[in-house]
Amino acid sequence: MIRPGKMLRQVLKSIFKKPATTRYPFIKSAMPENFRGKIVFHPERCIGCRMCMRDCPSNAIVIKKVGEKQFEAEFDLGKCIYCAQCVDSCLKKALESSKDFELAAIDRKTLKVKFGADDKRST
């Protein structure tokens, strides 16, 4: 039956329900398990094949050799599109996605993140 005000009941019920808004940033919702956030580099597993550099769509990762079988990775978080193709391309699983996505910065220089060769864990 066509009448105006069809949503009346739903709308009045909403007064008694909790609002559907999450009060970010006071309450943060958890991201699911395979969320593609910031990339984390494990330098001890890297063999320097540079497949990740070849496959990165935006040239955001640069692998540099700093010693015998020691490599460091530099990410440009501004260029990265968080597609995790490097994670898939790495033959030795030296890269993985974390759930970190709050990466906004005021200074562009802080967006270049370096994972040094002697960091045994992610920073």
Binding site: M7, A20, P32
Partner: protein, 409 residues
């Protein structure tokens, strides 16, 4: 009031993306309508030629935010056809699942936008609240809420675990209930029906002649759907109806989209039930042999066509994308004949425009045989100033004022 030409866009609260429409009005009646596209042109087709096929998967995904899986799948299907790769069944099923979830996402978003364009903000808030359910499910399955990145040449990158499948089914049940409520609202709310009925009429012959695709055409009774006529992914094993409607107006398009939502829930359930076991990818060499292929996909907005030409190297030679909005755009001036200004936003919103998908360059052969020239940046700027001067707009006063202000500072 004599005839005025009013610009809708490029910046306008009614438009989600920049495009320029010039409407000639006499009072409230629309006398003439002309469209100018191209504000979102980013040179994607050229950029595709500079990157390898793997990188191009992500680039084509970012042609549009909400048809992202459509573009990426369409591209990947074309490349796999040239390479002669046979993708495993499980990968095809997962592509279908994500494609249908994307359709649900897109149609819920459209419902909210349509409500907003007619001033019904409550519908906007409710449908976008339910859209969060879909986005959470997509984040669970693929790792991101938009731009899913699930395709790769040869298959898909992520698997669907049984626990995830259960969550998807639960979400689909919730969404089905809510969609039934929205169908009730759309068919019974008198003020909404008054704004949507009789607006933007496109008779069936005109829809076929002007090349409408997708829900815009199906609402005029044209029975075309790429999923049924030219099945790709796993659609040849799914049972679903193609929704058409005879209303030929915006109300019909609303009904078609909501019917498609219900069909999508059915397809998602079938996919999860029948998902076969198997590998996720097949190995495809980096250098694709020379060849060309055309692939089609039913995006939420209509038929999406990709053409890929390869030449034996790692990078494609030519990629051409024909987005559905380009086909639907030409129908808008027909739909707006003899209507009022108040109908314009909802008519444009009813074809579900996605101008990011649409803007590509077309090379027009200059029949007069004159030489083509390329312009440098300063030349282009002078050309713009000359063009505006020929239209009667003079920048010299403004430039003088700006110079004075800069001197004072």
């Amino acid at each position: 009031m004599k005839n005025v030409v009013i610009p809708i866009g490029p910046q306008h609260p009614a438009l989600k993306e920049p495009e320029s429409f010039n409407v000639m009005l006499s009072g409230e009646r629309i006398m003439a309508f002309s469209a100018r596209l191209g504000y979102n042109h980013r040179g994607i087709e050229k950029a595709c030629e500079d990157r390898t096929y793997t990188q191009d998967v992500y680039l084509t995904e970012r042609i549009c935010g909400i048809c992202s899986h459509s573009h990426s799948t369409c591209f990947v299907q074309a490349v796999e056809e040239i390479a002669g790769a046979v993708v495993s069944k499980r990968a095809l099923y997962i592509r279908t699942l994500i494609g249908e979830l994307e359709r649900v996402h897109s149609h819920l978003l459209w419902l909210g936008v349509a409500g907003h364009e007619v001033g019904f903000d409550t519908l906007l808030m409710y449908t976008w609240r339910d859209r969060e359910v879909v986005m959470d499910i997509l984040a669970l399955l693929t790792g991101n809420r938009v731009n899913y990145g699930i395709n790769t040449i040869g298959g898909v990158r992520r698997d669907v675990a049984p626990a995830q499948a259960k969550q998807v089914l639960k979400a689909v049940n919730t969404l089905e209930e809510r969609t039934k409520y929205y169908i009730e609202v759309a068919t019974q709310e008198a003020t909404l029906i008054n704004r949507l009925s009789g607006v933007g009429i496109l008779p069936k012959e005109d829809a076929i002649a002007l090349g409408a695709v997708g829900p815009t055409a199906r609402a005029s009774g044209v029975d075309r759907d790429v999923r049924r006529d030219d099945p790709y992914a796993a659609y040849d094993e799914m049972a679903f109806k193609v929704i058409t409607d005879g209303h030929c107006d915006v109300y019909g398009r609303t009904l078609v989209r909501m019917g498609e939502l219900m069909e999508s829930y059915k397809i998602i359930r079938q996919v999860l039930e029948k998902m076969p076991e198997g590998p996720l990818t097949v190995k495809v060499p980096r250098k694709i042999p020379a060849g060309e292929a055309v692939s089609r996909y039913e995006a939420p907005r209509g038929e999406d066509v990709h053409y890929v030409k390869s030449n034996g190297t790692e990078k494609p030679e030519r990629v051409k994308v024909r987005a559905p909005t380009l086909a639907n755009m030409q129908n808008v001036s027909k739909m707006l004949e003899d209507r009022q200004l108040a109908d314009l936003p909802i008519v444009i919103a009813a074809i579900d425009p996605c101008f990011s998908c649409t803007d590509r360059t077309t090379l027009i052969n200059d029949m007069s045989g004159k030489e083509t020239k390329s312009m440098s940046w300063p030349d282009l700027r002078l050309h713009g100033i000359e063009w505006y001067r020929s239209q009667g707009i003079d920048f010299s006063k403004l430039n003088k004022k700006l110079a004075e202000r800069a001197d004072r500072v």
